[in-house]
Symmetry: C2
Subunit: 229 residues, 2 copies
Amino acid sequence: MHRTKVRVVEDALDANTTLAQANRADFDRSGVMVVNLMSAPGAGKTMLLQKVLTDMEGVRVGVLEGDVQGSLDADRLSHLHIPVVQIQTDNGFGGECHLDANMVRSALHELPLDDIDLLIIENVGNLVCPAEFKVGEDVRIMVASVTEGEDKPVKYPLMFRACELVICNKIDLLPHLDYDLELFKHHLDGVHPGVETMFVSARTGEGTEQLRRYLIDLATRRKAEAAAG
Amino acid sequence: MHRTKVRVVEDALDANTTLAQANRADFDRSGVMVVNLMSAPGAGKTMLLQKVLTDMEGVRVGVLEGDVQGSLDADRLSHLHIPVVQIQTDNGFGGECHLDANMVRSALHELPLDDIDLLIIENVGNLVCPAEFKVGEDVRIMVASVTEGEDKPVKYPLMFRACELVICNKIDLLPHLDYDLELFKHHLDGVHPGVETMFVSARTGEGTEQLRRYLIDLATRRKAEAAAG
């Protein structure tokens, strides 16, 4: 008697995870290191990029901009003379409050992946849903602004837990706020113990050198991995 | 021949709209004026309420607090000795980034509606989805903080369009920011011409008297309507 071998597919993935893996495979083929950059609206993601991406020591950077509408941030970054592609979640994606793997995938053909070492995906400003949708990234960075108050890690724990680096921005405003930096650190430690943190001001440039170094090192690591086969 | 009259139901509503109307009917029965208060995370909704709700000249206020997790804001408001009910969207609602009519409905039995003149529903901090879900409110107020930048009306137009009042908060920080108030007004006028605006600082109290007056007038109007039958 001939028995057909039945293969059981376990761990069936949801569509987003499947598409995120497809993106990941494309990024790997082209040797691109990918960062998913997340924050609340107005925390300063774009200004941080404007500050940091001016001198990347030969690392070729591309940016994928996620917004509900408009292309204001993409326009600001276009001055850097790097490839910038805008995704509008309102346009065909129902006005979504986050990027997902499918939206990122729909934009990949607009990016010269083979000519990029580091792709930064600037997500829609939102502290909830972006953390729930992987898009194929290597690293997740979130930006918290001191003007948002110290309690945000407690109120939006998934976001602060789902990232490898937390950047605390707008520290130039600390003298003018009733903001307790130690309390923020305490809350952050409660939801994500030991996560790497940076305290910066995109406006004055304070601390941004550390982020520039971090991004350059990320891309260099990927290049070294590719060279090692 | 007997003909059965077929009644065609037009304008079938989605579940959220149906539930919002059910909430609305309950609010009307109890003569409650309802405000849906929305903003990005950390724009200062709770601190504004703490400032304004201390003296409401006899208007009986209740608050429904929406958060993904925790009850920090509800705890802060409990000092006001008014009915405060917390909805956690993470708890049974899948970690939603907004309140919807069903979540509000599930909390209504916790509120003494007949003993309240004004119910303030503090939504989850988010500039996208809260604007898409009516919960049975009369008025929508959104709070924008000057620390978020002038471009937010252009990036999140639905939110700025879906409200009757835009409160621009944290104006005490203006001397320390590169923020162009006229540019913000220009952007706001582009997406919602003529919308009522207030410029306030919850921290210093500047301008908050105007909001207190606005809320008292809202509740008084509802009482007068109820008295007139």
